[in-house]
Amino acid sequence: MSVFVLKRLGQAVVTLLLMTFMIFGLARLTGDPTPLVLPAEATEADRNFFREQYGLDRSLPEQYVIFLRNVTHGDFGISFRYRKPAMEIVATAMRPTLELSAMAMVISILIGLPLGILAAMYRGRWIDRLVDLYSNIGQAVPTFWLGLMLIIAFAITWPIFPSTGYGSPMNFVLPSVTLAFFTSSSITRLTRANMEDVLRSDFVHMERVLGLSQFRIVAKHALRNASLPIVTYLGLQFGLLLGGAIVTERVFAWPGIGQTIVDAILNRDYPIVQAAVLTTALFFILINTVVDILCAALDPRVQR
């Protein structure tokens, strides 16, 4: 097990290193940040000074080496726009995204798992069909549209929740439901498919013959056996939620990392783009490493 863990951690480090190269290159492909950072009144001398100040007048390999060296010390540079450490901006923005993603994940699991189990247990019946409809709609509906519809319904027509913003518990409801709708529908599908396979297996049949209750079979035995792919998927989904809530954050004016990355890209603020993307990547890699280790613990065959 410890060898497996070390191997996975080693892979994570290599992946991160490759990510630094990709992010550095892609950020610079977006173009020169100078006209965006400086006002229209800036002279050519002002622009040249700016480029010198941030090392943008050096060659790309030189810039990359300096960037990599600083990153190993946790220094992602100073934001061109904010003139503050990029990591400070990213850290501030990460918290609302983590909160939203966690809430969306909890809602998705609370909806997706039970629905998937029910659909598998009552395969072919009306419950199964209803759950199937739910998961199809959930996959098909665009997040942006759903968010706006929820605002129109529950903030304007029936003013129950605030339309946008961050800060109070009520602010969490509409955006997390928006995010959870898609995620829960995919969890439902995956759970249903895996549970179906397990419920048809011989050992479950044996347990029925032995007179175990349906609840005990499902909760104690079948779910555990079906959980491996579900746990893997949940890990992937959480990582995606972290980086992919951009549209939802924009619609609901959520001050999260998605909005920060988009603003940074549009304004060519390389330090923030690099810090934000690498941080999100790090989270993603960490989550998946933990998921892999968890899977290995659940099923030791995975270690081979």
Binding site: E41, R81, G165, R250
Partner: protein, 510 residues
């Protein structure tokens, strides 16, 4: 016993009266939803227009503008300018104070200049005004004499946007960094708190010299999405929203409980013709013909939903000399086609037309597509290239203009009614933003900038605008409007200003 009862009753009545009075005097708070958060709270470190909502309300200059865009004294009571327009003696208001109660003195004016040009702060806007100041002399506590290096006809006009008066004692005590987190100015509002990308709060400054606000706390909420901002004002979560695109404003007129406020922004949208490095539009007749191909009035009515004022001249409504009534290039596609044929225009080769996408140029893509459509009706092919705002900025302000580009979409604000500075920045041959190569125009621009008398300068500006029009050096489209949506219990006459109006005169009924 009776006396005691009477005494108690009197006390109760007085307490109730006091409470009623307090309620009557209590000003309402105001919530304003804006799309982008500002970056800097320090006027000498600001480089983006997103900072103006806070900076323009918290800080002031010696001179500024009233709601109609007229130049008025702010922190100064009056000014005496020398005949050569190189020296200005300002008499400061005796009752002007900073938000911490310190009086505004000539020493603060001198300090503000020194700080604005401090190489350590690297003020991005210093070159536009402060860097042209040779010295600020403290004559006495309430008199400051400013000497310029070169004449600047827009010196007074640009003060409230480009040079704020900051508190010397406070900054020397706390340092630049702390000042940037807890700024103190002289504006109608004092800074309270800020949470990046969430909100910024400013509060009415009751001891302001003349513009005491009618509201108490103003909260700027950051809501990037246009539809989400609209939802905010519909639900009452915001009292006022800004940066409304014209089609949304047209729809919003039908929404109950809100009303549209629209004010000319002194911002001018146009299409620049490349005569600097390009050759296809070097012919005057070709440029005139292209101008005649576009029906600006129809475009303003449709694409801009009526929230734009078509301009004959290359200027924004309300600015100097922008009052022509005769249009030499009226919409006439048939005559335009004939002119192009006569001029030997190559109809086979498309004109490359670039412009930005995104909210910073409202309806930019739609305008470009509409103009291309007009051109195509006359057989003029267009290679339309829309790009993201950053890429467009790099192209539009490149020192060496791309010779393959024939036309470039632009929007440019005038900070004041005297638009000579903007004209120079956009049209003078060696300026970064200029696509025009015309030595006669360069000479006229240089001459106008050096005229100290404003009336004489107006005459020269009018001549410049006429020349630009007659030679069709550009294709002016229109002046844009700033569009706001407010709840019906909010009334406001925003300042005629391209940057950001001050909120002191917003009225809100509870």
């Amino acid at each position: 016993m009776l006396r005691l009862g009477r005494a108690i009753l009197l006390v109760i009545i007085n307490l109730v009266a006091l409470d009623l009075q307090a309620t009557a005097e209590q000003k309402p708070d105001l919530i304003v939803a804006i799309p982008t958060d500002g970056i800097s709270l320090d006027p000498d470190k600001s480089s983006t227009a997103a900072d103006y909502p806070v900076l323009n309300n918290v800080f002031e200059g010696l001179y500024g503008h009233d709601e109609n865009g007229n130049l008025v004294p702010l922190l100064a009571e009056s000014v005496k300018a020398s005949q050569d327009a190189l020296t200005y003696e300002f008499a400061l208001r005796r009752n002007a104070k900073f938000h911490n109660g310190d009086p505004v003195t000539a020493a603060d004016v001198r300090f503000s200049w020194q700080r604005a040009v401090d190489p350590e702060l690297r003020n991005p806007r210093a070159s536009s005004l402060a860097a042209n100041i040779a010295d600020v002399e403290v004559i006495d506590e309430h008199t400051a004499k400013i000497t310029l290096k070169q004449r600047d006809s827009a010196f007074l006009d640009n003060m409230d946007t480009l040079w704020a008066i900051v508190p010397k004692k406070y900054i020397e005590k706390v340092g630049n960094e702390e000042f940037g987190k807890h700024p103190i100015g002289t504006g109608p509002f004092a800074f309270v708190e800020k949470r990046q990308n969430e909100y910024t709060k400013i509060k009415a400054f009751e001891q302001h010299w003349g513009r005491v606000p009618h509201v108490d706390v103003v909260t700027y909420k950051i809501v990037p999405d246009d539809q989400a901002r609209l939802a905010q004002v519909q639900t009452g979560e915001a009292d006022l929203i800004t940066n409304i695109p014209p089609p949304l404003a047209a729809r919003a007129q039908k929404i109950q409980g809100v009303h549209v406020i629209s004010r000319p922004a002194m911002s001018h949208e146009s299409i620049q013709f490349n005569t600097v490095s390009g050759s296809r539009l070097a012919n005057r007749d070709v440029r005139i013909a292209l101008n005649m191909l576009v029906d600006r009035k129809a475009l303003a009515k449709t694409v801009m939903s009526g929230y734009a004022t078509p301009e004959i001249l290359f200027c924004a409504s309300g600015t100097t000399g922008c009052d022509a009534t005769t249009d030499l290039h009226q919409y006439d596609p048939k005559a335009a086609r004939e002119m192009l044929v006569k001029a030997g225009f190559d109809f086979e080769k498309p004109l490359k037309f670039v412009g930005p996408l995104g909210a910073r140029m409202p309806q930019g893509k739609e305008i470009m597509e509409a103009v291309s459509y007009f051109f195509k009706q006359a057989g003029v092919k267009v290679d339309l290239v829309t790009m993201d705002f950053g890429a467009w900025l790099a192209v539009a302000s490149a020192k060496a203009k791309d010779p393959t580009i024939d036309m470039c979409m632009e929007i440019f604000p005038d900070y004041s009614k005297d638009n000579i500075v903007r004209l120079r920045r956009q049209l003078y041959g060696t300026e970064l933003w200029s696509w025009v190569a015309d030595k006669d125009l360069d000479a006229m621009l240089s001459k106008a900038l050096n005229i100290p008398d404003s009336k004489e300068r107006e005459v020269e500006t009018a001549a410049i605008l006429k020349k630009i029009h007659d030679d069709a050096l550009t294709m002016p489209l229109w002046s844009v409007s700033n569009i706001y949506l407010a709840r019906n219990n909010v009334s406001w006459n925003p300042t005629l200003n391209a940057t950001w109006p001050v909120l002191w005169n917003v009225e809100k009924k509870n």
